[in-house]
Symmetry: C2
Subunit: 609 residues, 2 copies
């Protein structure tokens, strides 16, 4: 039955050789690999406003220099990653670069940071997408948690089915979003030119004075929040081998396009937001307010909101290729449980997909689908992995010293330094708001991973055999059959026990003296050719008296290497009939298996009805 | 670990002979066995007002004749149950009487009705108790669902620990409640005498006119709701053997006392409620309003509310002796899964206790802890079982014909008739409000129970053996060992397989041709003296290729009666280490056990670390 539901939801299993290997054109790669980065425009500037909004209208202009600083950071990162693409045409994720240059532990740090980041990308993108939808359709507002969770579940099911990420349908949300934002900007700047910026504005543009209550920490916090707009720009460098030939060149071209688009969209909407005096509003995203300013509630406004929602959901979806793949890589390096490396029925890494969904849902519920509450957890992981990847590049240039290594090292070194500064600023400025969660979680994750690797290494050592020394041996088996009465199940079990051993003993556990005497009499009458031992249980438990009995058998001198407990198991025809039977055999099996070095042989008795 | 938490919550296991057999004095029996019936005073009259309140203030007087009719019904039932006590000194629950007189199916109907009733008693009493608490402490009002669920969980844990129901501490809530109600009545009637009823009243007593909109169905509904005040009066007749000698006489005396007290408390508070013009209020129980009228918010008021809360929680607790015991009885009669008949660590019927709690919690959450919403489901079960028990008594008198059988049959017949009328009236009048749930649930429960009995009977026939015909036989065992590589676990499993059989075959399932070739080479190198078969799996599944392979083995002519699959199981030292290993062996075991007539032998390999 479970199998049926599973197949209905995710489809028939696929053969291993059905794994496809399609390449991406630049036209397709841009929208598909950039949805995460570009969609950040939907919440990046709003995150800045969320901080400087505390200063009131007088401080709104501060958003502009902060956005400019973030754009400079963007340019540095794009330049840095252009180098990564060139150096690692095989796909240079932060995990690979850090592992390659600094060894497995640095790789592990970058990997853990990225796993945290992927999880937050899902939570942030989905909640931001649902916020965009709720801005357009206010009646959705009270149900954002529920809707966000449902979105994650739908994305999860699609990924368990295995979606072809390079399918053309996934191009459109990103292109639609780019068109929508550039369209709003075109209208906005046209208005500014025509009317000097006063025609469609809610409020006159605020003056550029230093507002009261301005502190350095506030500016740093606003900057740190705004850096969430830069998440996702590493995606292209990770996916270099998926590009059409010449891979490296095409990937670099696409990254440049991404950088230009992101800068234009982020700064462009930022200035319009400022010149209209738009502030953060509980039930309306900043972008929705901006679109409504120029488009009213026409169908164009709804187009903008739909495109925003779609690109954010698509951005969440990109984490579903990143997380499971990274988890599988780390699992192959023994840093994660090996289940993460197994491909599911539809060839996706199902365990990674399920874990990512579960974690994202927990985050969405815990933070009540508030994007602004999730932002403080975001970006630490991203910038930490940026720092490691860029430092790794610097080390590479210094050791290989190719042509122009000096300026290459300089660019990457600058990128690494800026990323590290952002990481530190973020950790301090956002510590109390939630960054502490990530700062605690990361070391825990890393120490777990190290212990997991230690465990796997230890086991593979312990289980290793010397082909000449270790060979199967045989010994005389002893079989013990716990019996609860005299019936066909018992007859079946004793037949089996007598077939595998000449040394069979039946054991009965009685709750009262009368029950034991009664059983002894019946046994004598039946006389199956096997001796019966009776045990008295004061606590109505079967397991403990049996365990004591086995201990006494084990300590006899002539003990063989293995005792077999033969357990009869009634197998009902319908699974729900199991509720009508004490599952003593299952409990007995589990109990003994984990406590004693005893073989458990389960002899099924299949009922006819 | 689980065992540790369990012992912390419910205490150390108890020996079977620790079962106690304490008898109750009349002084103790009254409060302990009557808490359910007497506590109904807390919501009975309010349930009437909930219906006639629709007529406005002009209809309030209608509560009085309805309460009087219910009191007449009470007298009839008390007289009827006095006879039950005399006839069944061994404890004449409706299940026992109906089964005895009309056979098992009638018993089953009464039993199912009572199980539903016990569940509702918990839900209704707890929610009414929490409503009483929230009336006194308004800040609790928004959290009634949560508090009610917590109350159920606390009662459940206490019962899993095994509380001594006859402990003196359980006398006090009932006596305190009796004192509180009689005290309020004393003050109330003193006022009425002294001031002609006008001194402390909120409103002048309404006139006795026929209000507009009065319909017969409304009166019937109010009557039906009010009958919830009569639930629990059968408790004494069920518990006759627990009384001190002379049991029957003491039980009858106690039942008379209960009848008198219930009538005085119910009618007394009813008239005072009317004369003060009190109506149903969302955040204040009627009883709380009445107490506040005379006591203000003095400590005496809080005493009344505390006593009400306590007696209602105690009433819920009485279901925890009724439900599990009845479920155990029905389980012994094969009407319920046999797990209900097993005593837990602390000698209580744990499965019954857990089921009752789960069902009550579901009801509380589904009905949002609204006592008035639960009342329409209540009382059908009670009065259905009353009818069956009383009809059974009539049949008994008619067949045994002892001295005075005519008037005895008359009393019980009248009781049966009235109970049946109430059941029918209730089913019709309350159908749409929730009675339909019970009317659908009961037949389902009954049909399940019949199917359960059929299943058990079928199995006991199928498993029965003829001592002379059925005796253990032996045969040549064949052992198949699935292997995933060459290591100590495999060495261990093959050693065992060779010890129990001379006919051993190792099977390897590979996901690619290279993996299979690699394994074959290694196997030849190791040469364990066992042949290896290799299977190719296209879908990365181990189970299906193995199953196909087994089918091919089974259909060979020289097949023995049992094939044994020997599965190596890695046993880690810490339970959480299991998350680091594919639980292939467990899945394989479960899969084959339920599909094939094959013995599964699990050979543990205990890791040192």
């Amino acid at each position: 039955m479970f199998g049926g539901i599973k197949q209905l939801l995710i489809g028939r299993p696929k053969k291993t050789r059905e794994l496809s290997d399609e390449r991406l054109s630049k036209l397709k790669a841009l929208p598909i690999l950039s949805s995460d980065a570009l969609s950040s425009v939907a919440y990046g500037y709003e995150a800045i406003l969320g901080e400087i909004g505390l200063l009131g209208v007088a401080g709104l202009w501060l958003g502009l220099p902060i956005a400019a600083a973030i754009t400079l950071l963007l340019i540095t990162l794009v330049l840095s990653y252009l180098q990564v693409i060139k150096a690692y045409p095989g796909g240079g994720g932060a995990y690979a670069v850090a592992k390659d240059q600094f060894g497995p532990v640095a790789g592990l740090i970058a990997g853990s940071a990225l796993l945290v980041d992927y999880t937050l990308t899902v939570a942030v993108s989905v909640t931001a997408g649902v916020a965009a939808a709720a801005s357009a359709v206010p009646s959705l507002a009270p149900h954002t948690v529920m809707i966000s969770v449902c979105c994650v579940i739908v994305i999860m099911l699609l990924n368990l089915r295995g979606i072809n990420e390079s399918a053309s349908v996934f191009m459109w949300p990103t292109y639609a979003f780019i068109a929508a934002i550039l369209g709003v900007e075109a209208i906005g700047y046209f208005h500014l030119l025509l009317h000097g910026g006063h025609a469609t504005l809610h409020t006159p543009p605020p003056s550029f004075e230093v507002p009261k209550g301005l502190t350095i920490i506030l500016i740093l916090r606003a900057f740190a929040s705004g850096c969430s707009a830069l998440t996702g720009i590493e995606a292209i460098s990770n996916a270099t081998p998926q590009f059409r030939s010449p891979e490296s060149r095409n990937a670099r071209f696409t990254l440049c396009m991404l950088g230009i688009l992101l800068a234009v969209m982020f700064l462009g909407t930022g200035y319009l937001t400022f010149s209209n005096g738009i502030q953060v509003h509980a039930n309306q995203t900043v972008l929705s307010q901006l679109a409504a300013t120029y488009l009213g509630h026409s169908w164009l406004y709804y187009f903008v909101q739909t495109a925003t929602f779609s690109v954010l959901i698509l951005a969440a979806n990109t984490s579903y290729s990143g997380f499971p793949l990274l988890a599988a890589l780390m699992s192959q390096d023994k840093f994660m449980p090996r289940q993460f490396a197994a491909r599911g029925d539809r060839l996706g890494y199902s365990n990674g997909i399920l874990s990512l969904s579960a974690l994202a849902i927990v985050l969405i519920i815990a933070f009540q689908a508030q994007t602004s509450a999730l932002i403080p957890l975001y970006a630490i992981g991203v910038f930490l992995s940026f720092s490691l990847a860029q430092s790794g590049m610097v080390k590479r240039w210094l050791s290989t010293k190719p042509k122009g290594w000096q300026w290459r090292a300089l660019i990457n070194g600058f990128g690494a330094l800026l990323s590290l500064i952002v990481t530190v600023v973020f950790s301090i400025a956002k510590f109390a708001e939630g960054a502490w969660i990530v700062l605690i979680l990361l070391p825990i994750l890393i120490s777990w991973s190290l212990r997991i690797r230690k465990h796997y290494n230890m086991i593979s050592r312990e289980l290793q055999i010397d082909y000449n020394k270790h060979r199967p041996m045989t010994y005389t088996p002893v079989a013990i059959v716990p019996v609860g009465g005299i019936n066909r199940v018992v007859n079946n079990s004793i037949s089996y026990a007598k077939s595998i051993s000449d040394n069979v003993l039946a054991v009965y556990v009685g709750f009262s003296d009368e029950a034991i005497e009664d059983m002894q009499n019946k046994w004598e009458e039946w006389d199956p050719g096997v001796r019966l031992s009776c045990l008295r249980s004061q606590y109505r438990s079967l397991l403990k008296p049996l365990a004591r009995f086995l201990s006494s058998v084990e300590f006899k001198e002539e003990t063989p290497e293995h005792i077999t407990i033969v357990i009869g198991q009634l197998v009902t025809k319908h699974w729900w009939h199991n509720f009508l039977h004490n599952q003593t055999s299952i409990r007995m099996r589990t109990w003994f298996l984990f406590r004693k070095d005893i073989v458990i042989a389960t002899v099924p008795y299949h009922l006819n009805d």
